[in-house]
């Protein structure tokens, strides 16, 4: 759980940073503010948290290297490959930002490539769960939920991080994402549940688990998502072109970040707990 969430957060931060913040700076050939340099460092720390967990998972680092042996067939092997590629590129581009903050344009291609690798990583990560033996995971809903988690966590973090230094338009854009993504998540819930109802006995048992044993967690997650939407609206209407008034944005941005973390952690907890293997053997 920690690995998937931290990696999706990391990719979301890097991608939205590239699109919303770095792109305008690169166009104007401006020097990168120190505050912005810290953003990639946070994404790198999140990815390294994933490294620690992934290395511990197979016992020791040597074992982790063995997992690259079945790239032809295993999505887990592919995940490790893309994970190493993404983390390596992120490490390099973060170092370049600190060393050459004025030459953003010269290494922006590497950041773009890191983003692309990150997007593939999130897809590959979702394919690990796309197993016929686990009906509740075996659908397009798995990659959708992973990508939504990626965009939501990235946008909440970036809005909080660039309160005083971001442009008015980028803040507005991030606030729109903070509203739109939980709306999509909430709207997808009944679609997913009705799909599960039609996907066989094991999938129906997953619905039953969610609506009985894990009902409090299910509602808590829904509550957090609705609160994130509400704080997203609050943030959106707090954004002003006047920089002096931007302090108003801090409270809704912080609250949106907190409720987003709560929603994603519970969502991922339920993702793992709802599983009923096919045949229930």
């Amino acid at each position: 759980m920690v690995f998937t969430l931290s990696m999706q957060f990391s990719v979301g931060v890097v991608l939205l940073y590239d699109l919303f913040l770095l792109f305008p700076i690169a166009l104007k050939k401006e020097k990168l503010p120190l505050r912005f340099q810290m953003i990639l460092l946070v994404a790198l720390v999140a990815a390294l948290t994933g490294v620690v967990f992934s290395l511990l998972h197979p016992g020791n680092p040597v074992n982790a290297m063995k997992t690259l042996s079945n790239l032809n067939n295993s999505w887990l092997s592919r995940e490790i490959l893309f994970f190493i590629s993404y983390s390596g590129m992120l490490l390099i581009v973060t170092g370049l930002q600190f060393r050459f903050p004025s030459a953003v344009r010269s290494y922006k291609w590497l950041l773009d490539l890191t983003c692309l690798t990150g997007l593939v990583l999130v897809y590959v990560m979702s394919r690990i769960y796309w197993l016929p033996s686990m009906p509740a995971w075996d659908s397009i809903f798995t990659p959708i939920s992973f990508y939504l988690a990626m965009f939501l966590s990235g946008s909440c973090f970036l809005l909080l991080f660039q309160l005083n230094s971001g442009s008015w338009t980028s803040q507005k854009g991030l606030a729109v994402l903070i509203i739109a993504i939980p709306v999509i998540q909430v709207a997808l819930l009944p679609v997913y549940m009705s799909w599960l109802e039609e996907a066989g006995d094991s999938a129906r048992q997953s619905v039953s688990l969610l609506l009985n044993q894990y009902l409090p967690a299910f509602y808590l997650r829904l509550g957090f998502e609705i609160l994130t939407i509400a704080f997203g609206f609050w943030a959106f209407f707090s954004i002003r072109s006047d920089t002096l008034k931007r302090r108003n944005l801090f409270i809704p941005a912080l609250l949106a970040f907190i409720t987003m973390v709560g929603a994603l952690v519970i969502d991922r907890f339920l993702f793992y707990q709802q599983i009923v293997p096919i045949g229930n053997l």
Binding site: P58, I80, L281
Partner: protein, 209 residues
């Protein structure tokens, strides 16, 4: 493609679990690890007769399941280290030197066959008692069955003798992995699903690792 397979006569199985115990003994398995598991399946309804009385409609039978050495093994595809591999004779085996115990094969297998050995930090599973086969003997679960409900042999012979039925409630759709398991279902098995049948000894067979 697997050249060997199991035949299981669910109508003959009494659920004594001798196969399960013999397998544990032969492979010296620690508590909680079962290469072979005997599932007790049961379902029932109460029906009102025309005279107004209530009568039950019970179906109960057993399924003895181990690794089915599938023709399309999802565990082999999933394994990131190639520790889970198919031998030339079609037997799916685990190389303990390569296995890192990530348990992904356990997720991928629809029969719950690979079992995690927490002490060794690796996966283990049935290998058809390969050492016995090489000695010209039968797997221990087959020879120990007092009801002769289990049989082992080349797939072609088993199909010729018993037909090609590989499905019974609640086993997964055999088209997913094409298991080398041929089944004579219990006469009541066809009704088990509509009676809301389920595995009733879940605590006994669940993976405790």
């Amino acid at each position: 493609m697997s050249t060997f397979g199991f035949y299981f006569d669910s109508s003959a199985c009494s659920g004594c679990k001798t196969c399960q115990v013999a397998c544990k003994d032969k492979n010296d398995l620690q508590a909680g690890i079962r290469f072979r598991r005997v599932y007790e399946v049961a379902g029932a309804n109460w029906n009102k007769t025309d005279e107004g009385a209530w009568e039950h409609d019970i179906v109960a039978y057993n399924l003895s399941i181990a690794c089915n050495h599938c023709e399309n093994p999802s565990c082999v595809k999933a394994c990131p280290t190639t520790a889970m591999h198919s031998e030339l004779d079609g037997i799916i085996q685990i190389d303990p030197k390569k296995c890192v115990g990530c348990r992904y094969c356990q997720w991928a297998c629809p029969y719950g066959s690979p079992q995690y050995n927490r002490q060794k930090g690796i996966m283990q599973k049935c290998d058809f008692c390969r050492d016995y086969i090489l000695d010209g003997k039968q797997p221990v679960c087959v020879t120990s069955c007092p009801m002769r409900a289990l049989e082992f042999g080349p797939i072609s012979q088993l199909i010729e003798k018993y037909g090609d039925n590989r499905s019974v409630f609640p086993l997964p759709d055999p088209s997913i992995t094409k298991p080398a398991l041929f089944i004579k279902p219990h006469p009541g098995a066809a009704r088990a699903s509509e009676l809301g049948g389920s595995i009733i000894n879940r605590e006994e067979v669940k993976d405790e690792q």
